[in-house]
């Protein structure tokens, strides 16, 4: 017999058929006997059952109440931390943003296998105005973090030549960008 059938059978049995069929024997407000009892039997095992029924009822209610408490606490905690997207402070908003880079926003300078992108128009113009070798040396020195010796190897010239041309190009660049030239 499945649980559902047991449930239905017992439930129907426990319904008084009519007003006169009320059975006596009260236990915590009950006015009918456990199933299959005529009254007058020893009640010990049944009282155990009944005790368990009450225990189970209390157990389930407690479980539900505590879990509901947990649920509501979680909801209120989430509510206190959640911020609407539109109300985010600007600093946080910037962290989430991503900026697209378009080819017309920067000038690219290819050097060997590397491409250096420069967004600053003024700097890019000044760099373009420099002679080819000076520009390459400057870019390698400042953007690729190469030492003079490495630049010299790459460009097939002496280290000192690199140093001298870099300084010359740097001075020229400074002049082009309107800065004071100091040695």
């Amino acid at each position: 017999m499945s649980g559902k059938e047991i449930f239905l059978k017992l439930f129907q049995e426990n319904q008084p058929k009519e007003a006169s069929s009320r059975r006596v024997v009260g236990e915590r407000g009950r006015n009918d006997l456990p199933p299959g009892k005529k009254g007058g039997e020893t009640m010990t095992p049944d009282r155990h059952y009944e005790h368990k029924q009450h225990t189970f009822d209390s157990f389930c209610k407690k479980v539900l109440k505590c879990e509901a408490y947990n649920g509501y606490r979680e909801i209120s905690r989430r509510k206190s931390r959640e911020v609407a997207f539109g109300e985010l402070p600007e600093g946080t908003m910037e962290q989430l943003a991503s900026y697209d880079r378009y080819p017309w926003e920067y000038t690219s300078f290819p050097i060997g296998g590397d491409v250096i992108l420069i967004e600053n128009d003024r700097l890019a113009e000044a760099l373009n105005a420099l002679p080819q070798d000076g520009r390459d040396i400057l870019l390698m020195y400042f953007f690729l973090d190469m030492a003079d010796r490495e630049i010299a190897e790459r460009m097939h010239m002496a280290r000192r030549t690199v140093n001298a041309r870099r300084q010359k190009a740097y001075r020229l660049l400074k002049e082009l960008m309107g800065g004071d030239v100091d040695a």
Partner: protein, 80 residues
């Protein structure tokens, strides 16, 4: 489910409890159905619309959570 005026109706019959603790699906369903009213009452929340009118609704997420918790807890009930 039918509820008679007597307190008797508020208690599940012992065999159903025993079957539910053993994990029989029909009995577990009967228990969940028996407490569905209480679950719904617990998971009813009140929200206020733009005009400040209270509007109560059953939080489905909370209801599912309570049902799940009840089913898990039933299996741990000590029958002895």
């Amino acid at each position: 489910m039918l509820k008679s005026a007597s307190t008797r109706a508020a208690l599940l019959p012992y065999p159903v409890i025993a079957a539910a603790v053993r994990g029989e699906p029909d009995a577990v369903n009967a228990v969940v159905r028996h407490y569905s009213g209480y679950i719904a009452a617990l998971s009813t929340r009140t929200s206020y619309d733009v005009h400040g009118c209270p509007h109560s609704y059953v939080d489905e997420e909370l209801r599912r959570r309570l049902e799940t918790k009840l089913i898990i807890a039933i299996l741990d009930f000590n029958l002895n």
